[in-house]
């Protein structure tokens, strides 16, 4: 998972979903999740999948990025499905997991992180918002250092399979990464404190209900009606 790709999409991608407010998208995602968890109908699941794929296509979202994110929950759901030994229920379980993952990825890829983190932090103590915000920053600090370190290791050691030597090399990479990030984070935090973080500054919460939000709401109502009648 490349967080920079998702961040770039979330901030710079221009589409209709991007113009919807974060609370509306969260409500939509929760609604989809409720429909997924309560349906036992494979045709409805198929129709919901088509709708969600069409939504992504209409917003020109990259399929490869969303697909790779939805693949992991499907893989783990497949373990449960295989253990169950019933293909129909298995398909339902895998479909539920994949579509839930896809929906989460669509919301993340179309919402600026500050808005999303603000929404998550809103009902929690202020320190939680700071923690989320700072973790997100730290992800980028670590990401670029890790990429450089892994390139250096690959150039030095070449391609290799799993071995104790490789594990040792990776442990050194991780240890270096941890110490470097720890030092940088301390300094960055002091800097952000000087700018007001932790002194009453809350991660902003977008409360405005916009015109595209109504479209999301109508879609959810139509899907719920479909769920009821199937």
């Amino acid at each position: 998972m490349d967080i920079a790709v998702l961040d770039n999409l979330a901030v710079n991608h221009s589409c209709w979903l991007q113009r919807c407010s974060a609370p509306a998208k969260a409500l939509f995602a929760i609604g989809i999740l409720v429909l997924l968890l309560t349906t036992r109908s494979l045709p409805f699941l198929g129709a919901l999948a088509l709708f969600l794929f069409a939504l992504a296509a209409a917003n020109c979202l990259p399929w490869r990025v969303l697909g790779s994110l939805a693949l992991l929950p499907m893989l783990f759901a497949a373990v449960f499905a295989v253990s169950l030994g019933d293909w129909r229920t298995g398909l339902l379980v895998v479909g539920r997991a994949g579509l839930a993952g896809w929906t989460a990825a669509v919301v993340f890829a179309t919402t600026p992180p500050v808005r999303l983190l603000g929404l998550l932090a809103a009902p929690m103590p202020p320190v939680f918002g700071e923690l989320l915000y700072f973790t997100y920053r730290a992800l980028f600090l670590l990401g670029s250092t890790l990429a450089d370190a892994l390139t250096a290791v690959r150039l030095r050691r070449g391609r290799e399979g799993f071995s104790l030597a490789r594990l040792k090399a990776m442990a050194r990479v991780y240890g270096m990464l941890l110490l470097r990030a720890w030092d940088l984070a301390g300094r960055q935090y002091e800097l952000l404190r000087l700018r007001g973080l932790g002194e009453g500054l809350r991660v902003s919460l977008d409360r405005t209900w916009r015109r595209p939000d109504w479209a999301l709401l109508v879609m959810l109502i139509l899907l719920t009606a479909g769920w009821y009648y199937v």
Binding site: P73, R96, E160
Partner: protein, 220 residues
Amino acid sequence: MSHLHLPDGVLPWWLWLGALAATLVAVLAALKRLEGRRRMLPAVAVMAAASLAAANIPLGLPLHVNLAALAGIVLGPALGFLAVFVANVFNTLIGHGGLTVLGVNALLVGSEALAAGGLFRLLGGSRRLLLNTCLSVLAALLLSLALAAAVAGAAGVELEALASHVHNGRHAPAGAGEFWATFVAIMAPLAAVWLAVELALTLLIVGYVRKVRGGWLERG
């Protein structure tokens, strides 16, 4: 055992709802602790980010580590749990691990931070660094595996009931025991490799950190 990345729709509602409530209580308690020790905030954030970044370290195996036990050792049980929870929140946001099962996933992985952090301090901390790390991480990973196996058992009961509904009661249930046995047969080899790799990697990291910056773990 975060590698399970439990998806939505496999667990009974009472389990994921109960786990969400328990996680919320634990997180609020940890946040209260963090309020009083603000200087630890960047450390918790870095450990959460490092836990996510650890998933991108290529080991040459079809699995990744999360180093939650290391977070517990470095930050202590409460803040280590908080770091694991934040990492799980980000995983959930990108679809890795379901939204409803955020609590269960956080408790499963967080148990590693809680157990390793608590046991590490109980054994005397960094006085016998490698031995204490080894014992506390091993105990934490075994506890996490046992919890994951129990959750899989609960999932089996739920999925058998779902199968019965899907077939309008005509499905002859194989029994949760059979589900569990198949699940364990699939996951056990992966879990065994994961346990060995996670333990070895944690020990190697602790050894490396002690070598290049002696005393850092004691201060952490």
